[in-house]
């Protein structure tokens, strides 16, 4: 994040403005990715009119960064009507898509509407791997073609590479592909639980050795020495700080109008079909609770030797049952980076108690996806351009 963007975020935080929102337009999708957390049936998506009204409300509330995601956004026939409305309300719009339905005409419209960036999921440079993950033959070719078209129209394209057991060796290839296309490369090494709380999908996460290798790869992690530096615990003065942007300057809205602190923090906080967006943002008891938590309120993490260097996600912690607790996946990541296991991880290993595979929390429909914060936000997970 540039100095100016950071300054604006700090100002928004002070003023209580939801600067950044991810709005999922649909959970329907034309791909069936093995790691996807979604129920792809339509359980009553917001109508075009409802979404336009929501966009008006969000503009009024001060939302600037708007990420439109899904499911597959182009599955909605009214997608361009929605996008047009969003741009008329002068949002800075980012799109997330698999690109399969994107052709010349769509690329031209996306460009003409002044979209800031388009993120396309690419799991591998090899069709046999990518298409096996999406369970859609030909999908890699179509996603790459979409990225090429968008680049030809001068758009900022991001290739997003989710790391899992199926594609653990392929991130070099995707990075090279991104370079060839003139696109940005972004890796997400975390598979998150399914929308109904089922954690069995976590088995797709790469093991600690593979994670360590990725974290020590300069091409992905940037400055490895800095990224994998020995852990540091919080100083006394850090304890008043906030864990991340979720519920502070950012939130997530599902296709059914449910509001959550973040796409990766499935704490139901209200529904825009019943309550005005601004009222939820200001008055929701759940968002207020999230906002009340400082680093000092987290009994384990505030005392952890990794506290200051950890990328702990409160949403993942919530999905483990305690939003003030540690996130096991981040304990693992801290270990992979530094080679030093935190006490929480040591205790878990000693107790030999694997995390239960059943639901730990009952949650409503939602879709975990990459962080809603603007890229390179100070509290984002990535240490360098390439890695979250």
């Amino acid at each position: 994040m540039s100095g100016l963007a950071a300054e604006m975020t700090a100002k928004a935080l002070k003023m209580g403005i939801p600067l950044s929102v991810q709005l999922d337009l649909t959970y329907r999708c034309n791909e069936r990715c093995v790691h996807c957390y979604l129920d792809h049936h339509d359980h009553g998506e917001m109508t075009t009119t409802e979404i336009k009204d929501l966009l008006d409300q969000m503009a009024e509330a001060g939302v600037f960064y708007l990420t439109l995601s899904g499911g597959e956004i182009l599955m909605r026939r009214d997608f361009f009507e929605i996008l047009e409305h969003a741009r008329a309300r002068t949002f800075c719009v980012k799109l997330k898509t698999n690109g399969v339905l994107l052709r010349e005409a769509e690329a031209e419209r996306v460009r003409a509407l002044g979209v800031e960036s388009v993120q396309i999921s690419v799991y591998s440079h090899r069709p046999e791997v990518h298409d096996a993950i999406t369970k859609m033959p030909g999908s890699l070719r179509q996603s790459i073609e979409a990225a090429r078209l968008l680049r030809r129209h001068g758009l900022h394209v991001v290739l997003s590479n989710v790391l899992m057991v199926h594609n653990v060796r392929d991130y070099h290839g995707v990075k090279a592909l991104a370079a060839e296309l003139g696109a940005q490369f972004l890796m997400d090494p975390t598979i998150t639980p399914m929308m109904d709380g089922d954690r069995s999908i976590l088995a797709l996460n790469v093991d600690e050795a593979a994670l360590r290798e990725v974290f020590r790869n300069e091409e992905v992690a940037g400055n490895v020495e800095e990224f994998c530096a020995p852990p540091r615990s919080f100083d006394e003065e850090d304890l008043d700080m906030l864990p991340c942007s979720a519920g502070h300057t950012a939130c997530y809205v599902s296709p059914y109008g449910d509001v959550y602190p973040c796409v990766q923090f499935p704490l139901p906080s209200g529904n825009v079909r019943r309550t005005k967006f601004a009222d939820i943002w200001r008055d929701s008891p759940q968002l207020k609770e999230v906002r009340s938590i400082t680093l000092g309120d987290m009994p384990t993490c505030s005392r952890c030797t990794h506290g200051k260097t950890c990328t702990r996600c409160p949403g993942l912690a919530f999905m483990e049952g305690n939003m003030r607790g540690p996130s096991h996946q981040d304990c693992e990541k801290s270990y992979a980076r530094t080679g030093i296991a935190c006490e929480n991880l040591q205790a878990k290993k000693a107790a030999r108690q694997p995390l239960p595979s059943g639901p730990l929390v009952q949650i409503q429909i939602w879709q975990p996806a990459p962080c809603t914060m603007p890229a390179n936000a100070p509290d984002s997970h990535g240490v360098d351009a390439g890695l979250r």
């Binding site: 100016l4 928004a12 600037f64 008329a88 002068t90 949002f91 800075c92 002044g114």
Partner: protein
């Protein structure tokens, strides 16, 4: 053009008021700008049909302790700078309305 008479917001921008300031991002290169209170007033009034001089006289000189000459000189420098980044359009003739203000109610 030495004296821009009409100014209009480009449609190739993202913009939002943040308190008295305005964040503006160019859609062509993602460059982010913040406009201070006075610049925000000009931005809000840049409808393509109100002459810059009138905007300055009506919206700046009535609110701030500044002469029209001085304020207009500053405003011209500001709009030329923003035009160089493609976020404002300048013309000697009235411009068709380019985009809706982010402060307008729907």
């Amino acid at each position: 053009m030495t004296r821009p008479r009409y100014v209009a917001r480009s449609t190739a921008i993202a913009a939002r008021a943040l308190g008295e300031e305005t964040m503006v991002m160019s859609a062509t290169n993602s460059m982010l700008f913040t406009l201070d209170e006075i610049a925000s007033v000009i931005w809000e009034s840049a409808d393509g049909v109100t002459p810059l001089e009138q905007i300055v006289a009506d919206k700046i000189c009535t609110q701030y302790d500044v002469t029209l000459d001085v304020a207009l000189q500053d405003a011209e420098a500001l709009v030329k700078g923003l035009a160089e980044h493609g976020i404002l359009l300048l013309s000697d003739e009235p411009l068709a309305f380019s985009g809706r203000s982010h402060k307008e109610t729907p």
